[in-house]
Symmetry: C2
Subunit: 291 residues, 2 copies
């Protein structure tokens, strides 16, 4: 199955979930506005790609788990952009949710995207045990022991001089855990033993870290057209970033070195189980920054 086909399955799962809702149409509109805001679907795509690498035939149920993950990610973007948070007017070149629908509806659209995805997973055609494990992992990755905690630490770190470890703790939670989740989820769905699930999750964590370093680097080097949001926003907000902490060149080296570590672990796993690492290595390489 090619990338386009995989992403089409995720879109269908999202459409099917929100498509038949009869009431609170403005809520549905606000939710779908951000769902369809042109995100790259990197998290859902990773899940389906890792499943395929593990030789699991992709089904609707897998697309539903992937869609649930994207819902939580999307909800977090809506809340991140709020005036009380990052106060952003644009995301990916379009008005942010609260600029389009007002703050109250944006808050509620984010809330719905946090509360809905668990029903989507619970109703998927997978074993009850797999669903319980997926739900536990997703909830822990996103709530007060994951993404939300990272958001709080990030907010509190503004204007402070953080060291590398503190910065990594912030990003490991704020963005890392939702990028590691698809790796762990693929391990749960394919029935890998706990150690291999952990190994897969670790690769996801490395990719998540590289993803963040790359994002910080692009924030310094790219223009509005290239990244679809106001560049150098982080610098204006006096946020600690990898380029600010390490220097631009060293941040690029750090990003690429993290990707090397992910590749080494992928190689290791492919020697232990029937795992076609090629497509995952390709994703890793797409994050590499050419200095």
């Amino acid at each position: 199955m090619n990338k386009q086909e995989k992403l089409a399955m995720v879109e269908s799962a999202l459409e099917e979930f929100y498509g038949d809702q009869q009431f609170a149409l403005s809520l549905r509109e606000a939710v779908l506005y951000s769902i369809h805001a042109g995100g790259k679907r990197i998290r859902p795509y990773l899940l389906l790609e890792v499943l395929e690498a593990l030789k699991v035939p992709i089904t609707l149920a897998h697309a539903q788990v992937a869609a649930a993950l994207e819902m939580i990610h999307t909800g977090s973007l809506i809340h991140d952009d709020l005036p009380a948070m990052d106060d952003d007017d644009y995301r990916r070149g379009r008005l942010t949710n609260h600029k389009k629908f007002g703050e109250a509806l944006a808050i509620l659209a984010g809330d719905a995207l946090f509360l809905d995805p668990y029903a989507l997973i619970a109703q998927a055609d997978l074993s009850s045990q797999a669903k319980v494990d997926l739900i536990a992992s997703l909830s822990l990755a996103s709530g007060s022991m994951g993404m939300v905690a990272g958001q709080v630490l990030d907010m509190e770190g503004e204007g402070k001089h953080l060291n590398l470890e503190e910065l990594q703790t912030i990003h490991a939670n704020k963005t890392g855990k939702l990028i590691a989740f698809p790796f762990q989820a693929a391990g749960i769905i394919s029935g890998l033993d706990a150690r291999l699930q952990e190994d897969l999750k670790y690769i996801g964590e490395l990719i998540g870290l590289a993803f963040q370093v790359r994002d910080d680097v692009l924030d310094v080097t790219a223009s509005f057209e290239e990244i679809g949001k106001t560049p150098q926003k982080d610098l204006q907000a006096e946020k600690s970033t990898y380029p600010a902490l390490l220097g631009l060149d060293e941040a690029i080296v750090f990003c690429n070195h993290t990707l090397d570590r992910a590749n080494a672990k992928l190689e290791e796993i492919s020697r232990l189980v029937n795992f076609d690492k090629g497509p995952i290595v390709e994703i890793v390489e797409s994050l590499r920054i050419n200095a």
Copy 2:
């Protein structure tokens, strides 16, 4: 088990979940501030009470499901109070979360309380199938097909003249479904057949409706000291309420009649299964308004 012992188990479950979190201490503080804001725990109490009425011995797992429900309810109160929503400075006689911790942390505390409870249920000592059913029900009751939808409809109804059916749709979603959930959940946990689960849920819906009518009536008749928030807030906000729509006397009759219907259904169930309806009838009666 008496009420105090039941509620103590719920407090323990909440404490245990948030007690061992090592990072983002300010998030934990903000979450626990609202968790410990003196709510009456009516929803968790209903769950444990209905379970006991169904002759199910109460365990930690049941208290965890009850705690998960209270977490979502608490998160919704934090977000309801935000400046972009009801803009309340006080709740239950204390500063609202955002007045105490700032808007950003209040938004994130609410988010955590929406994302965390699913892990709590997923990790409870119950069958996987029961957990999947509980999670699906709770998610559907709280997200864009439940509580959040009701919030949106409520917001959009402000300043409009709603009819009784529109008002009931708002409340059935905004508050009704999270009060019906403990009844449905008790049915799931005790393994009742689908029809009896639905009957129990219906009783919860009636109690939820009566609860809301009573709340509207108290908003008109009570003082700050009695209800712990600014009275007549609804009237100031030009919200449709049962007293505004039906008149105060008729609203009281409607509340009490709804409670009669709940009692009739309780009687019916107690003839079909081993169900000690007494304590539930007592809760129903506690909502009755003496004209």
